[in-house]
Symmetry: C2
Subunit: 81 residues, 2 copies
């Protein structure tokens, strides 16, 4: 089973990395870019799990290991079963 | 317009960061995790562009700035117009 987990900073948290990318894009003339937020994506392959078990495991892994729940939020989707 | 761009290493490129995450998950007992690949996600807000212009601009920005086309691939989707 292939799963994609997106981890990004909460809206209230400053994102200097995203700001740097935005500034770089402006320097290159891409002034249509109003805002950039940068996050992480994890593409995970799971084995030996049913869908219900996976739906329990994925947020547990995301919350415990992949994201820092103080400053980050996550979303996930099953790409392939 | 809100756009999401995912940048990840090409399949043929080693991903030590993903391997480290996988090993950490195994240490915690999550042995169902067979593989982890880590990439970047950019959430970008564009203004003053029609859909057709955006569809031209987004891959240009991704290819030129956000991804390193030698070792990375990208995909994108328009989340909100």
């Amino acid at each position: 089973m292939k799963v994609r987990i997106l981890v990004s900073l909460k809206e209230s948290v400053l994102d200097p990395q995203g700001q740097t990318v935005r500034n770089a894009l402006h320097t290159l003339g891409y002034n249509q870019v109003k805002d950039v937020r940068q996050g992480k994506v994890f593409e995970i392959e799971l084995e030996g799990l049913g869908r219900a078990e996976a739906e329990k495991l994925i947020p547990e892994i995301a919350d415990r290991v992949l994201a820092n729940p103080i400053i980050e939020k996550f979303s996930w989707e099953i790409m392939e079963t």
